[in-house]
Each structure stands twice: as C-alpha cells, then as structure tokens.
Amino acid sequence: MLEEAGEVLESVLKASCLPLSFLLFVPAVLLLLGPPPAAEAAHEFTVYRMQQYELGGQPYGTRNAVLNTEARTVEADVLSRRCVMMRLVDFSYEQYQKALRQSAGAVVIILPKAMSAVPQDVVQQFMEIEPEMLAMETMVPVYFAVEDEELLSIYEQTRVASTSQGSTSAAEVLLHTATANGFQMVTSGAQSKAVSDWLITSLEGRLTGLGGEDLPTIVIVAHYDSFGVAPWLSHGADSNGSGVSVLLELARLFSRLYTYKRTHAGYNLLFFASGGGKFNYQGTKRWLEDNLDHTDSSLLQDNVAFVLCLDTLGRGNSLHLHVSKPPKEGTLQHAFLKELEMVVTSQSPEVKFSMVHKKINLAEDMLAWEHERFAIRRLPAFTISHLESHRDGLRNSIMDTRSRVDPKTLTRNTRIIAEALTRVVYNLTEKGAPADLQIFSEQMQIQQEQLESVMDWLTSQPRAAQLVDKDSTFLNTLEYYMSRYLKDVKQHHVKADKRDPEFVFYDQLKQVMNAYRVKPAIFDLLLALCIAGYLGVAYVAVQHFGLLYKTVQRLSLKSKQQ
C-alpha cells in the first residue's frame, strides 16, 4: 500500500513541480532578505501649546487650539493650510514668519529631548525670538513637542516628501505617492476658551521683631511663577526659581536668629512669595491694595524700612541693585546699599556690584521690576538681580532650565544678601564689626544642598501662572515650607475683575496630538485601477478554469500511462 501511495504522491509532486520548487526556493530567499522594517503606526505625542492670554485688554500668543491638517516642513513650496513642522536646531524667526505669512494651518516646533545639549547660540537666539512670537498676532495654533525617535522619523519623512515636491515628473510623483507617507496631524482637544475666575495665589509669612509695636519692617519679596513661550515648558529656574530659593533660605536663617533672645532683632521681617509676577506683578499689586487700602493695621502701612525684591540670582559674576529713585543718605535703604557694597568688596571681590537707576515708565504696559509696584505706592524698594536690564530674554524663556543655574553662584549670592541684611538689621557696622566678618559660617552656614534641593523641586514642574492652581501641590508644599520657619503664613488670592479683566488666561495648553499616516486621493485612484485589473484577471481565470482542469487531467493521465 505504501508503494502505491508513494506512486500517487510522486504523480502529485510532478504535476505541481513548479509550486513545490517555489516552496523550497522562497524560504531561502526570505532568509536572505533579512528582518522587515520596523512597524509604523499612528504616533501619539504630547504637545504644549503656545501662551494664550490677555493682559490689560491686549491679546498675546496664539488664538487657536484646534488642528487637523497635513504636515509639511518649511522646504515645501506651498504651506497654506498645512501644519508646518520645524526643529529648534534649525529654527529661525524668518522661517517662522514665512510660514505664518503663507497662512499655514499650524506650526509645530520640535524641541530636543535634552535642552542642556542645545548649542548656546541657538538658545540665545531662541530667547530673543520668544517675546516676538508672543507679541505677534497669531491666529493659527502653535505647538511645541519634545522630540523622540518616532517624531524625528515623521519629521524626516515629511521633509523628504516636502523637498521632492514640484521638481519631478508625473510618473515619479505617482510612484512617490505609493511609497511615501503623508502625515495628518490631529489634536484631540477642543477649542481654547477663557478660564473664568482663575485665582492667582500669593503667600505671605512673617517673623516678628523684638520690642513691641511700631518696629520698622523689612519686606523680602520674590515672585514664584515662571514664564515662557509655552506655559507647560516654562520651568523658570533662574527666573524666578533662584529668587524663591534665596527667599526660603533667608527665611530659614533669620528664623533661627529670631528664636534666640540675644539675636532677636528689632525689625519685623515680612516674606512674600508673590504669584502672577510675569503678568505685571498681579499678586503683589493686590497684596498692596489689600494691605494699604482696605485694612486699618498692617505691617506695610506703618513703618516699612525697605522692600527687597529678589529676581534672577542664579548665574553670572555680577549683582545689580535696581532702584527707581536713588536712596537718600541716612535712610535704611542707603545703609543696605552701602552694606551690600562693603560685603561684596571685602568678601567676594570677584563679583561686580553696581546700582542701576531706572525711572518708572507708567506709559509702558509692563512694569520692569517688581520693586516698581512698591515704589508706585511710595514704599522704599529695590530689586537685586544679576541681570543688568529687565529686557533680558532669560526672564521669559523656556530655555531657562535647571542646568542654567549654578548652585555655587546661588549660594554665594545668598550669602552676600544675608550678610548685608544682617549687618543692617543688627547695625553691625556702626557697632564696629570688621568688614570681612563672616556671620553665616559653621552652624549658621548657607546650605548649598538645601538651595539645590529647593531648586530641584521648583524646576521639577512648570510653574506658569496659568498652571498653579490654588490647591496645587506646589502651593501646598511652598506654604508648608514657609510655615516651618515663619509665623502667620497665609494665602492671598487675586481674581480678575469680571467686567474689565486685567488678565485673562486660556485653557487647552497641553494636548495629545496624533500623527496619522495618510495617502493622497490620487493614490486611491491608482489603487482602484490596480484592483480593477486584478479582478479582471481573476474573472478571466475563473472563466477559463476548465483549461487548468484539462491540463492537470492530461498530465496525470500521462504519468499514469508511463
């Protein structure tokens, strides 16, 4: 029986010798071809929308959030109603403007994964562009995405498709549509709308001086919020994470001094971490109004020695004391200035210290420094910063990341400020203390680790004013931290007026974007033609199945006869 079976099998094999040889041949070929290209599917990534807000009735940033268009890069000829993708590395304002002029549907800017690896000149350039992007009227959505492998591959494919456009023949274009991918960018969220009743929160705490009522008060202020072209990307390390960390360190040091009777000074210290600092110091403004206009007794009303605002202190070898009116001799303000000068020259000679005088320009939309808010209300105030001009791009940039703050410099600046402040508070110079006396040493040392960990915590999350909710963990932690050292820590809230709002924020700042692979309509047409051809062949084949049947019959009979 087996023999007979073998015979039949043999005849079968003979009749189908072609498929069989194929069967043996194909695996060998497949092995040579190697592994297939990686599977590609719709890519989903998080995008961060550009700022959208109104300040004093003036709109800033983009006005749109909805996006559903095909992707292109700037190399393409036609950009209208397309989503233009750009990489930060080769981003330029001219290209950005060109895209917007050609009425692009949207702009997606791809940021590198590690911001610290970006070359300095690109960072500098982008910092300068940021305010211009915000000031420009932008009707289309502008998004920022952090690059990953998939997104880069999408960008590369789009770039290839964009560059090859227009210069090829029709046949090449047809072939290209079958092989290359287009990408449809779609955001999932709804249109952006104004957030009503948003509360900007500020925190206040105090250390009461020794010696009853009517003591002079020193106010130390730093705004905690950050600002950049996209709220979700603004970590604001130097501006103003450094200011807040110095404020917290000062609170720690003076709370220790104020616990001992011998070192309990006759000054009230009032600490204020203000919110909305990047939006014309809204938090400070309301705080002053509340304290000066609405209540009868407040530390701010009675006897304010001076207000010290801390802003951008984490870099550079210079310190500038910004004033709107040079302090008169004999005032505490002047004393503090002198002490600062002395501490810098005697203890940190590498630091260049200077006083910068700039009058308040009420005609401008934005106040330059935080102390101007106090100066308007006739409180003696100044801002200390390593920046010479308030226009520096660093104060409003998403490039201001943790790596741009040098912990050593921050510690040194903290020490200079703390030393000068102590000398004023305890009147040490008049008591004859030497200029190079280091008060904060040994147990009372400025703790660099403390400053660093506070900086790490501050920069671990975006602190844009639109994102810091009054119940957010950030504010809770800050409040907890302040109440560890200070008394009477409480929150102050600002809400924009309903009828004539001073600031309006918009939502939809963080979205999920999908990149769908798509083909042009011509491809479907081409495919339809191919399928029609295939079906035609199938029809003919089925119609003439008899031919195959007969051939097989003849072959099998022949083999049988043999």
Binding site: M1, A5, A15, V26, A41, R517, V542
Partner: protein, 225 residues
C-alpha cells in the same frame, strides 16, 4: 483613509467570491440557500470550537514576545472540527461532487469573510490612518477562498466510500497540511520575523501548492478510475 479606500478594499475582498459564485455555475443550481446553510454550519462549528477552547485551554501567560508552540499546536488541532463541519455540510447536500464541494466551500468561506473581516474593514479602512494591512487583509480573503475550496475537495475525497486505499496517505497528508497550515506559518513567521508582505506571499504560495495538489488528486480520482 476615506470611504473610497474602504470601497477599494471591499471590492478586492468580495468580488472574487462573487465572480466564483457566478462563474462556477452555482447560481444556476439555485444554490444560494444551500450556501447560507453552509454558512450557518460554519457559525455553529466556530461556536463549538470557541466553547471548547475556552473550557479546556487556559490563557497563555508566558509574557509578551514569547511564543507558545505547544499551545498553538493544540489550538490548531481544534481546527479539525472544521473538517467535520465541512463533511456535515456536504453530507446533507445531494448532488455531484463538484457541486457539493463548491457549495460547502463557498458558504464556509463567505461566512468567514463576513464574520471576521467585514467589521475590521469597515472600522479600519475608513479611519484617518492609512495602513497597508487592510489591502493585505482583502488579498488574504482571496487566498482563504482558494484554501477552503481545496479543503472541501480533500474532505469530499477522503469521505468517499469507493476511495482506493493508495489515496489515503496523500489525502491525509494534505488534510493535515490544510489544517495545520496556519500554525506552521505562524511559527515560521515568528521564527524568521518576516514582513507582512512576504508572509502574505508565503501564504499564497503554500495555498497554491495545496490547491494544485488537491486538484491533481481530484482529477486522478474522478477520471482515473
């Protein structure tokens, strides 16, 4: 992509069935209801298979990426029920051999097409995202039509009373191949990591081989004696 793309995929998947039905002369036999009955049997058999699998086969928890050869083999063995189902369909129809085979295969394959490819095509091919897999799925449905015709022919030959003994071994071999084809190919693709297009090509080639061999056996059996 668009409705047009769905139309393309739909035409590619369904028209060969329609052509086969029209040109094979089934329409002249008024075999439509018989095909529907075959489809119903398909549904019944699949339900039984699923119940069996769910009852006796634990879910594979070997982690992602690992391939459970034994489990998959056992699952493929359950597909033997398909052969029984096809036999059931053919035994309930009276008529010539070719007619029985075609009715069973057409009903079976069409039921599978409607059940397992209609919804993915409708949902997937109309979405924004373009993917070749819907075109591949449509081509695959053409291959499975050929596969089921060959399988039905093999079952018909195997269950004939007057089957000469020497045919038993090749028929068994071919039946085994047709049942374990999916399993073999899955394992093969898993080991060699083929792209979906090459996989489809391999599938087409193997099915072609199976079909031609069955045809040769059929011809020798029907006309040889």
């Amino acid at each position: 992509m668009t409705l047009f793309h769905f139309g393309n995929c739909f035409a590619l998947a369904y028209f060969p069935y329609f052509i086969t039905y029209k040109c094979s002369g089934l329409s002249e036999y008024n075999a439509f209801w018989r095909c529907v009955q075959a489809g119903a049997t398909y549904l019944f058999v699949q339900l039984c298979k699923m119940l069996f699998l769910a009852t006796f086969f634990p879910t594979w928890e070997g982690g992602a990426g690992a391939y459970d050869f034994v489990g998959e083999f056992m699952k493929a063995t359950v597909d033997l029920a398909d052969l029984v189902g096809l036999h059931l369909v053919m035994s309930r129809n009276a008529g010539k051999g070719e007619y029985k085979i075609m009715v069973a295969a057409m009903g079976w394959a069409t039921a599978e097409l409607v059940m397992s490819r209609c919804i993915p095509l409708w949902v997937g091919a109309r979405g924004i995202e373009f993917d070749w897999k819907y075109i591949q799925m449509s081509i695959d449905s053409n291959i499975s039509l050929v596969h089921y015709i060959a399988m039905a022919a093999l079952v018909w030959m195997f269950t004939r009373y007057d089957l000469p003994k020497r045919y038993r071994l090749p028929l068994t071999l071919l039946l085994g191949l047709s049942v374990y084809k999916t399993f073999f190919m899955e394992s093969f693709f898993h080991v060699f990591l083929l792209s979906s297009w090459t996989a489809l090509l391999v599938k087409a080639v193997i099915t072609g081989f199976l079909a031609l061999s069955s045809l040769a056996l059929f011809v020798t059996l029907v006309h040889g004696n």
